[in-house]
């Protein structure tokens, strides 16, 4: 067939099709290029570049014309951003698809695995910095100032919006020198989300509020991506992620280097500790002996377990040293499994073993029904009066349960007391025995002294021994007489309520308790809630033995509850009686009436039958109920059912229901309850709750409950944003929603389940209602803190190298902070003084006029050690920060201008000028930027104010009389001394109005706490005290002789100063002579100096006391350049030598004293001299 021109297809048509498809191809190509060119991250990157160039050009413009070098540098920076002229073309569409200078910034983190559901783990790669480009950029010339600060207000011209913002706190996060650098940690390990994506939605950004969610939906088409297991934390929970690696938690608030980093999380942790959540919900931070999260567990066995056995009680009490805390601890130590890391926490509630002694059944039952009606701030949660016992059945049975529990507790308590009474008889006897022993020792010494065979130092030593024994004996006799009375009969000491009122303020009760009857104005800041509010205390103490109990409790709480937190205040019996008299004298009432219904026997029987049914067939249960359980069944029964053995009686039924109810509510999680020594916590463990599958959470009908509630509550104004957030979270079945509602209204999960056909009575929810704060908004805030902490607990730490495992000083610091808060040391002692930041005001120029005159007598080591750069920065800054205590007289005199005098406790820089510790500056009345309260010491501050008001003292004169701030305590005292002092506190300063209590610490706790102070000040825990060595003294001796002649003796010359009646002896006891005058005006005895002080500190202290302790009354005895006319030993130009000599002789006090005694000794036969040595 000849070829024809005819084509298979119509050519023009094809041309059209081809043309169209070409156009379509072109279109899609353009579309592709367009899509690529306008990818979200590229747009951000381009915007960022543009702004960066603008900023650089602005900086260049600000430089002087002549500064060609500076300009050149900036130009280089511009070129590196723009890639130089000409190459910008690479950024154009199409071209940028091939070798674009805009690159995705991927951080590859092979060791920081991320879990991808059931598929296991994969390496992490974070691309967040592709959009968040300046996330780790510091401002030019600084290490940690944000280069791209966040815009705070819309008017803020220097700030930026996300994602063009630097991460807050570069010194802590993302910065290259920070502990969490961007390259090492990436982003999603903390923030979560899908790091591999570069799209706003698919990286799982999570809005913080419903409003923000709406905004995002509107602006960026955001939607909730349910398919990614770990969406980013919303801002409110971001701190939760810290728990993964920071298992101790507290270092995130109290940190020498970084200050507060996650205060909300720490608050949550502290609340869990304070309210004893761990009593029911075990928080076991260990897996195979390795720490995987915070560990909050009870001690392996409370001492009540041990005390329960009468044999043990007798053993402990007949032992002279017992019942010391170390004794109890070692007992516990001996019984524990060596492979298991034991828990360390004590129960948060009081022991109920002695409840019959202090209060009545009536009070107890009303208290269980509604504790808040008696003490609104109580930590005891509410078990009754809640949603799921509000129905008729719940109310009737609830009151029966309350009566039953009370009945059981009192029965057991009386039995326990009976056993103890028996045992304490032995204690009285033991004290008597001890007194007898001391008496015979004393007689022996007296005889020895009379015979006059002793000479010199031996004699002195014996006299000292004798005096010690005399005071010991007096104490023992007083104690044993008192104990006997208190425990076995009436306390015969009459108390004086007026004195008691004074003691209540002075003896430190307010460090842990509040009382409505004390001077509220002075103790305004001291809202102590470590112990219960004692305002209506007297209404509780209505039992006949209450007074006895109280006096005993105040004298020695350990007798009653060996593991309670109430310390031994070292009161003498009279003081305890006075305090008790005052406390019982105060009116006490219930805030609202609470009635517990008379016992309803029908409901009681219902309950007995219900519980019995669980272990025996219904027919047997009914039988037992009417006839009791025959003795023959005993072997088959569990402890609870054994209560019903024998003929039935109401008491037996009550005890049975009481036991059942106590177990059901898990009361033993917070209280020591006789009969429940080995019971296990009843709640869900929380150690890995943060990764619990939300599908396993029983939301039940709580969404409906909320909707219905909201409906009924309508018209009362809209719920706030946070509530809305959580309601939303509940609707989406998120963990945080569940937790929030559990803490808000725990029983609401029983909504529409109160019908017995749906849910049996004993399966109703048991979680009680906690009140973290009486203020509702504050309560909500605290709930969120708890939620943050619990969400953070995933027991799933990253690879070992990322987990924070502090050792050495850091470990000691963390342990110390935990102990300081656990024993409430910070109630009395200030660990850090308050901080004030103010605007430097040139009109207030007087500030800079502290005369240098007053520094002339300082020694070189008193100077501040700021660097020149720090001084320069301060000179350029308009604000200054100082740390110290407000001084001066009565507030009334100061209020006039609202100016405050602050004595510096840390060196400070103000406008480039250096200020030393102890110098006082005036805070300007205007221009205060911020004030940060100190850490601890609320009670000390309150007592100072109280003394200022009541005794008209200057603040500087009041401070020496209250518990001292422990700032730089580690630099001051030797760790070994502190350890001994903590276990066995002795009086030190005669001026102080109260004594350091005995906190019942065990050995490990005392050691940790003692080492904490050294670690906190960055000094070695143990000091070599080289000044006491022979070689050191020999060297000083030869220097001294070289200067002043061969017949001089270094220590003796120094002792002449120490023993000079014109100097130290004016206020301190030296060499056996006591200063005259009232004791409260004396300084501490110097004999303990060698054990107590560190040598460097002592030198600084003696050189100028004010530079160490700003409020001190100690005079400047050894001024630099002015050795004073009171000594003729050291010439005027040797004031440092003089100072050092006084320090050395103090540290070698025993040596010099011995030498003095030898010198005093008359001619002694040489034979006895050898013996004497």
């Amino acid at each position: 067939m000849p070829a024809s021109e005819e084509t298979w297809r119509n050519q023009p048509k094809l041309n059209i099709v081809f043309a169209l498809s070409s156009l379509a191809m072109l279109g899609s190509l353009v579309w592709m290029v367009e899509v690529d060119h306008f990818r979200e991250w590229k747009q951000y990157a381009r915007m960022f570049k543009k702004e960066e160039v603008r900023r650089l050009q602005e900086r260049q413009g600000a430089l002087a014309e002549a500064d060609s070098q500076g300009r050149g540098q900036v130009q280089d920076a511009i070129d590196s951003v723009t890639l130089g002229r000409g190459r910008e073309v690479l950024n154009l569409p199409v071209l940028d698809a091939f070798n674009s200078p805009l690159k995705i910034d991927t951080i590859w983190l092979p060791d920081l695995k991320q879990s991808i559901g059931s598929f296991g783990e994969s390496a992490r790669f974070d691309r967040c910095a592709s959009c968040h480009i300046p996330i780790d950029r510091a401002a030019p010339g600084t290490a940690t100032e944000p280069g791209w600060p966040l815009q705070k207000t819309p008017e803020d011209q220097d700030g930026y919006i996300h994602p063009y913002v630097t991460h807050p706190r570069l010194e802590l996060f993302t910065g290259s020198t920070s502990p969490h650098s961007k390259q090492e940690f990436g982003c999603t390990i903390c923030h979560r989300g899908q790091g591999g994506d570069t799209d706003f939605i698919f990286t799982s950004h999570t809005p913080n509020t419903p409003r923000q969610a709406k905004e995002w939906e509107h602006r960026q088409g955001w939607f909730e991506n349910h398919y990614w297991d770990q969406p980013q934390w919303p801002k409110r929970f971001i701190q939760a992620s810290c728990v993964q690696c920071h298992h101790d938690v507290v270092e995130l608030k109290h940190n020498k280097q970084f200050g507060e980093s996650a205060p909300k999380l720490v608050e949550g942790y502290m609340l869990v500790r304070k309210f004893g959540c761990f009593g029911c919900h075990e928080i076991n931070g260990f897996e195979d002996g390795r720490s995987v999260g915070p560990d909050l567990r009870l001690e392996p066995a409370s001492s009540e377990t041990i005390a329960r056995s009468l044999v043990e009680v007798e053993r402990m009490i007949s032992d002279v040293a017992a019942p010391t805390p170390t004794g109890v601890a070692s007992l516990m130590e001996a019984t524990r499994d060596p492979n298991v890391v034991p828990g360390r926490l004590r129960k948060v509630g009081p022991s109920l073993a002695r409840i019959a002694e202090k209060t009545t059944e009536d009070w107890t039952s009303r208290w269980i029904k509604n504790p808040g009606a008696f003490r609104p701030q109580t930590r005891m949660p509410h078990f009754y009066g809640l949603y799921n016992n509000g129905d008729d059945l719940g109310q009737a049975r609830g009151d029966v349960e309350i009566r039953a529990m009370t009945h059981y507790l009192f029965r057991e308590s009386r039995a326990h007391l009976g056993r103890l009474d028996q045992a304490h008889g032995h204690e009285g006897a033991a004290l008597q025995n001890q007194a007898g022993e001391v008496r015979s020792q004393l007689d022996a010494i007296k005889a020895e002294l009379l015979s006059e065979t002793l000479e010199g130092s031996d004699r002195i030593q014996k006299i000292t021994e004798k005096e010690t024994l005399v005071s010991q004996l007096a104490l023992l006799e007083q104690e044993s007489a008192f104990r006997k009375q208190a425990l076995l009969g009436e306390v015969s000491l009459a108390g004086d309520a007026l004195r008691g009122a004074e003691l209540f303020v002075q003896k430190g009760c307010l460090a842990c308790h509040q009382h409505g009857a004390v001077d509220q104005e002075s103790f305004d800041g001291a809202k102590a809630d470590f112990g219960p509010d004692l305002t209506n205390f007297s209404a509780k103490l209505k039992s006949e033995t209450a007074r006895n109990w109280l006096v005993q409790w105040l004298s020695n709480p350990r007798v009653h509850h060996p593991r309670g937190y109430m310390p031994d205040l070292q009161l003498v019996p009279q003081e305890a009686a006075d305090l008790a008299a005052w406390l019982l004298d105060q009116p006490g009432k219930w805030h609202e009436e609470v009635e517990v219904e008379e016992l309803d026997l029908e409901s009681l029987d219902d309950l007995v039958e219900m519980y019995l049914q669980k272990s025996v067939p219904l027919i047997d249960a009914r039988q037992y109920l009417t006839d009791g359980i025959p003795e023959s069944e005993k072997g088959m029964l569990r402890a609870d059912e054994q209560e019903l053995l024998g003929d039935p009686s109401v008491e037996k039924k009550l005890s049975y229901v009481g036991r059942k109810t106590l177990s059901r509510f898990g009361c033993f999680g917070c209280h020591d309850v006789p009969g429940y020594e080995t019971a296990k916590p009843i709640g869900t463990g929380l150690a890995d709750w943060g990764r619990k599958d939300p599908d396993l959470l029983a939301f039940e009908l709580v969404s409906k409950y909320i909707d219905d509630e909201m409906e009924t509550a309508e018209g009362e104004g809209d719920a706030n944003e946070d509530t809305e957030y959580y309601h939303d979270a509940i609707d989406h079945h998120k963990r945080q929603g569940f937790l929030w509602q559990k803490l808000h209204e725990p029983r609401s999960f029983d909504y529409e389940k109160l019908n017995l056909a749906i849910k049996p009575y004993d399966e109703r929810l048991r979680m009680p209602q906690f009140h973290f704060d009486s203020d509702e908004a504050e309560n909500d805030r605290k709930i969120e803190s708890v939620v943050t902490f619990v969400l953070g607990m995933t027991a799933d730490p990253p690879a070992e190298q990322f987990v924070y495992r502090p050792a050495g000083d850091s470990r000691n610091q963390i342990e110390g902070v935990k102990l300081l808060t656990r024993f409430n040391c910070v109630g009395c002692h200030m660990m850090e003084t308050p901080q004030f930041t103010f605007q430097f005001n040139p009109e207030f120029h007087e500030l800079t006029q502290v005369t240098v005159d007053q520094r002339a007598i300082d020694y070189a080591f008193h100077a501040t050690d700021f660097t020149a750069e720090q001084a320069r920065n301060s000179g350029n800054s308009d604000t200054a920060t100082v740390t110290g205590l407000v001084m001066g007289a009565d507030a009334e005199n100061l209020s006039e201008a609202e100016e405050r005098d602050v004595a510096l406790w840390q060196p400070a820089l103000i406008k480039g000028k250096r200020f030393r510790v102890g110098e006082q500056i005036l805070l300007p009345r205007d221009g205060m930027v911020s004030e940060r309260p100190g850490f601890g010491g609320d009670f000390a501050l309150g007592l100072v104010e109280s003394l200022v008001r009541s005794a008209g003292l200057e603040r500087a004169d009041a401070w020496p009389r209250v518990p001292p701030p422990l700032v730089r305590e580690g630099e001051k005292v030797q760790t070994s001394w502190l350890y001994q002092f903590l276990l066995n506190p002795k009086p030190i300063r005669p001026a102080v109005v109260l004594r350091m209590p005995d906190f019942n610490l065990n050995d490990r706790e005392a050691r940790s706490l003692a080492e904490y102070f050294a670690a906190n000040d960055g000094v070695p825990a143990y000091d070599t005290m080289v000044e006491t060595s022979d070689s050191y003294l020999a060297q000083r001796q030869s220097e001294h002789q070289g200067r002043l002649g061969p017949d001089r003796d270094y220590l003796s010359d120094a002792y002449k100063i120490l023993a000079n009646p014109q100097v130290c002896r004016q206020c301190h006891a030296v060499g056996g002579s006591s200063p005259a005058g009232e004791q409260k005006d004396h300084g501490p005895n110097l004999t303990s100096a060698p054990q107590r002080f560190r040598s460097d500190w002592l030198l600084r202290w003696l050189g100028r006391p004010k530079r160490v302790l700003p409020y001190t009354a100690m005079p400047e005895n050894f001024q630099n350049g002015n050795p004073g006319t009171h000594q003729k030993v050291f010439p005027a130009d040797q004031s440092l030598d003089q100072l050092r000599a006084v320090r050395d002789v103090m540290l070698n006090y025993h040596k010099i004293l011995e030498r003095q005694l030898t010198d005093l000794r008359p001619a002694v036969p040489t034979a006895s001299e050898g013996e004497g040595e």
């Binding site: 007053q854 009565d890 005199n893 200057e954 014109q1062 005006d1081 005079p1115």
Partner: protein, 302 residues
């Protein structure tokens, strides 16, 4: 940002030049006092209202900023006690009794003249440095003030001084004392002064707002109060309760302070002085007498 720093600069330059100008004027006024040629304020109204204020509402600052003094006047008066004169417990001396017993047992917290009921040791002083100081008083502020102790008593129990003066701390006793000056941010010191010690110099950083306590911790009963001001207008009442402050600026409401150790800032019985504030206006070249009572109940004496 830039504009605000520019503004600051302009303001500062302005203020600085103003300051220069004022200093310059001060220098000119050396010989003949300039104020003498100045006219009295045109309106007498303002002056009247000032006097009215002083009598009715002494707590308020009456003088407005642009009011100028029209001359110099002298204020004198007597401060007396209303109510029963309390008997104060004698000081107990338990230390260095030999040296101290002679004088130290007198309780100096409140000394009242049984004749005219005048209270000793009340500080009366101008709260703020006036714009101009009488030329006679500009000098004489250089001297050193002795601050001595004898028989365990500070010889100056109530001392008012100029802040430019130095304190010369002395000890005339055969026993040690420490002189603890608690001036707070105005200056603190606590030297030990043993018997026969060399005198020590002390200088305040700046004026004290009110009198500051000076004590000896070795002998806790020893107390004294020192006031340091940056102007010469201060007085301490004598044993008759009398004081005199010469050459105060006249024609403006003076913002005076009254302070006594038993009460701190004084409240007078008649309401002239409220929380230590006392407003008085003097006439030129006149010695004005202003006296008032202090009620014994407003004093903290046990």
């Amino acid at each position: 940002m830039f504009s605000s720093s520019l503004k600051k600069m302009v303001v500062w330059t302005g203020m600085f030049s103003c300051l220069l100008w004022i200093v310059g004027c001060g220098g000119d006024s050396g010989g003949t006092p300039k104020y003498a040629t100045k006219k009295r304020p045109a309106s007498t109204e303002s002056q009247d209202s000032a006097t009215e204020n002083s009598s009715k509402d002494s707590g308020k600052k009456a003088a407005s900023a642009n009011q100028k003094a029209d001359g110099w006047g002298t204020l004198k008066g007597t401060i007396t006690l209303a109510g029963d004169i309390p008997t104060l417990p004698a000081v107990t001396i338990e230390k260095d009794v030999e040296v101290c017993k002679e004088h130290a047992s007198v309780n100096e917290t409140l000394l009242v003249n049984s004749g005219n009921r005048g209270i000793k040791n009340v500080f009366v002083y101008l709260g703020k440095k006036p714009d101009e100081v009488h030329p006679d008083l500009v000098e004489a502020s250089d001297a050193v003030v002795d601050f001595d102790q004898k028989n365990c008593v500070f010889l100056t129990h109530a001392l008012a001084m100029h802040v430019d003066q130095d304190l010369n701390l002395l000890n005339s006793d055969p026993v040690s004392h420490n002189t603890r000056i608690q001036g707070g941010s105005s200056g603190e010191a606590n030297p030990l002064l043993p018997a026969g010690a060399d005198p020590q110099k002390f200088k305040f950083n700046r004026k004290t707002r009110n009198p500051v306590p000076v004590s000896c911790n070795i002998h806790p009963w020893m107390k004294s109060y020192v006031l340091a001001q940056d102007h010469p207008y201060f007085a301490v009442t004598d044993e008759n309760g009398a004081f005199e402050i010469p050459n105060l600026p006249s024609g403006i409401a003076l913002d005076l302070r009254v302070w006594h150790e038993a009460s701190g800032l004084v409240d007078s019985a008649g309401g002239e002085v409220v929380k230590g504030k006392w407003s008085v206006t003097l006439e030129a070249d006149v010695t004005q007498e202003e006296s008032f009572d202090i009620d014994v109940s407003s004093l903290d004496v046990e």
